[in-house]
């Protein structure tokens, strides 16, 4: 575990030069797994501290944006004694290919993990072109 621990450290999300976010929180890039099956693409993202009410998923012009807000910080008498990770919102965007059936995207949130199932459009499935070798 220690070997890969460095990769697990939360990474802050990038903002375009000179542009600030309105909320003065830190924004992190969530870790994701993306896998493709025959008829669907599954995106799984680690969003600890986010639930279904504080999550926005947008799909516009083939760009899928995931935005998670984290309500953080401990109530008063406590003060921070030691910190290894930062707490903040999450943001990440992916460009999708045309083959996703946008009407049937299905998202679930459980224990801080988002699971986004994107079925492939039937037309796209049929469009697959077989390549044969010529001799």
């Amino acid at each position: 575990m220690t070997e890969s621990a460095r990769d697990i450290t939360k990474k802050e999300a990038a903002t375009p030069e000179g542009v600030e976010r309105t909320r003065p929180h830190k924004v992190y890039t969530p870790s994701v797994d993306i896998l493709e099956r025959k008829d669907e693409i599954v995106v799984t993202a680690d969003l600890p501290g986010v639930d279904e009410n504080s999550l926005d998923i947008n799909l516009e012009k083939n760009v899928l944006t995931i935005n998670g807000r984290v309500e953080s910080e401990m109530p008063e008498p406590y003060r921070m004694a030691y910190a290894e990770y930062g707490v903040g919102d999450y943001q990440r965007a992916f460009t999708l290919s045309d083959e996703v059936d946008k009407e049937r995207i299905h998202a679930t949130m459980k224990n801080g993990v988002l699971r986004l199932v994107m079925p492939k459009a039937t037309a796209a499935k049929a469009r697959k072109i077989a390549v044969t070798a010529e001799s």
């Binding site: 797994d33 680690d46 600890p48 401990m74 004694a81 030691y82 290894e84 990770y85 224990n111």
Partner: protein, 142 residues
């Protein structure tokens, strides 16, 4: 040598300033940790709250053991979407086993340790043992 020379000017000692800044910075965020999972510790006079981000895990999958002044978190996370062949576009999420021991500066009241799991964030409340608490001594007026 340098220090003595500078100390003649009193407050202007640069080494002391750097030292002070370093100390302030390291107290704030220990970023270079290789331990997993990362924890944050919140404290008041007789309690500490340890938080850790363990998304996708449930309360039953985390094992918490308390011994004297230390508390150990143990668990493992499996990937729920396994697939055969080369079907991953990206695989960034961690999986596997972890053990993390945190030493606190006081004896823990083992009976009163409480743990909560919400939205993938583990929160363990660790109270200080009654016997370990400092005694208040009233100053008598004569």
């Amino acid at each position: 040598m340098l220090r003595t020379d500078f100390s003649r000017f009193g407050l202007l000692d640069p080494w002391r300033t750097i030292e002070r800044l370093n100390r302030a910075a390291s107290g704030m965020l220990a970023q270079s940790t290789s331990e997993f999972p990362a924890v944050n510790v919140w404290a008041d006079s007789d309690k500490a709250i340890i938080t850790s981000e363990l998304p996708g895990m449930s309360a039953e999958e985390v094992d918490i053991a308390v011994n004297g002044k230390s508390i150990t978190l143990r668990g493992s996370r499996k990937l729920e979407d396994a697939c055969e062949g080369e079907c991953y576009h990206r695989q960034e999420r961690w999986h596997g086993q972890f053990t993390r021991t945190i030493d606190l500066p006081y004896l823990i009241d083992t009976e009163k340790v409480e743990a909560r799991f919400t939205k993938g964030v583990l929160q363990v409340t660790v109270p200080r043992a009654e016997a370990d608490k400092p005694k208040k001594i009233a100053v008598k007026f004569e």
